[in-house]
Amino acid sequence: MSLNRRTFLGTATATAAALAAPMVMAAGHGRPRVVVVGGGAGGATAARYIAKDSAGEIDVTLIEPSRSYYTCFFSNLYLGGFREMSSLGHSYGGLASEYGINVVHDWAVGVDRDAKTVALAGGGSVGYDRLILSPGIDFVDGAVEGWDLSTQNAMPHAYKAGSQTELLRAQILAMPQGGTFAMVAPPNPYRCPPGPYERVSMVAHTLREINPTAKILVADPKDKFSKQGLFEEGWAKHYGGMIEWIGSDFGGGNVSVDPAAITLSIDGEVTKVDVCNVIPAMKAGRIAELAGVTEGNWAPVHAADMSSRIDPNIHVLGDASAQGDMPKSGFSANSQAKVCANAVRGALTGSTVFPARFANTCWSLIDTDDGVKVGATYEATEEKIAKVDGFISETGESADVRAATYQESIGWYDGITSDMFG
């Protein structure tokens, strides 16, 4: 048993030949085929584990438009000046060369569930025995009055990492002294529950260095948020007075924006701001809806194998799925992907399927060396992914503990990205 990258090209043909017999599910077309749509935390992990563990027995195709995946995780640290953007980019080269995955840089634009094919924007289609959708999120149309994708340059969301994140940082650096950074926070459920508040912390960190009289205004449709006690403690300690959070009780949910004027109206009161980071309500990446596996905004799945409740040949991972208790995080998507990979491999080749088990831990950085975390373990029930046990950092922890937590998050980043891309 080896965790080393398999020298795929050398062994694939031999293994495929040797294992030809147990191919139970390849409907009359040679090796069973898995198509993965979306090469993010869920999709890249699933593709890699299926290819790695089946060692050539399963034909894996990954459809992903981007040449490089920029992680949303740690993109807030980029806003805080703790990471370079280049350190967040990951290429798909290793998945192709080391694991023999057929990486197709294109958009999936439709799914024919009867013919079991996925249509590509560039033309043509690919057939599957099992389809895994991990397309992440898209934004709900009209969620924030006055904002739509055509205005995302004036008011960036920076909730898909890359150029949006760079734009937001550039806008922060260009703020006039004493200016205002506003955020429109999203309603539940959304990707990365602590994400907006880690972002507020990181923006405050940057502003404290270069623009100490600046203000941060957060309009929030929720009345509480993830790790609130920890964030509020940290904001008071490090950024005293800079951050104003307006929850739903004070009209934080009654918001509209004017991207041309860069104004924000909260509960009828219009404020001119310098940067406006709009994070609208979210839904499953649109391909899930096109495939017809969504109910409402998300795609409901069975916890045991992440298969769609609407189509047993489709699995939905990560942010796009409605699975139960797990937060929408990269860690969760990665955890779900491994359960799914094991189940899909079992279904297609007869390999042992072990019982599902899930875990999540989310680290957030509040200021230099002030890291906090929250985590839980989960199990599969008939009804959903159900929480088993959990923990959260405590307020008032020592500086040593917080610094160690931050160091740990750096290790986690290296761990999860190597688990995704090899």
Partner: protein, 233 residues
Amino acid sequence: MRASELMMSLVLMAAAGMAAADQGGDPELGAEVYRQCSGCHQIGEGAVNRVGPHLNGVFDRPAGQVEGYRYSDALQRAAAGGLVWNHETLDQFLKDPRSLISRTRMSYRGLANQADRDNLLAYLRIYSDSPADIPEAAPTSAAMDHSVAPEVLAIVGDPAYGEYLSGECTSCHQANGEASGIPSITRWPTEDFVIAMHAYKEAIRPHPVMQMMASRLSDEEIAALAAFFQGVD
């Protein structure tokens, strides 16, 4: 510290038992500092390789030479490049392991305090002479901070199940054994692995994530993980 001074302090040390040497560090204080190391490294008579190699005779030895220990690729490369453990190289390694060997599996942030390092080096130095000078002390290794019933230690884990379960570990711990902020867990002797996991499971070792992860692993599952990670190469 030059070689002549080292010799001098050794003579003094021999004369005064473990008392502070005139120059350099104090091995007795170093023994305290060494507790940070003893989770992974044994030293003293009968010391064997655990998570890390034993440290007897480390001074003036070429790196990567302890028999039977499976070093990281990074350390092997450094050894092939001629790295020898002496006062300077050990001092730098202890100060910031990754500044010397960027991809070492040694999961240790480093010892910033010069006095602590001097004391630790003085302590290590006593075990680097001829075997006759090695005190008759039991080998120290706090990987034994917790005792696990022999029948639990005797469980032979199923590495295939361990490979599946390892997915829970590799969201954080790198499968190739590299480490940065989260310890390397590959190639540990199975016994150390099992003891460590049970210590988390029973909340003797303090880490909320590890306690949570270990708390739902059965004895068989821990054995399976130990068997799998031990065999990773």
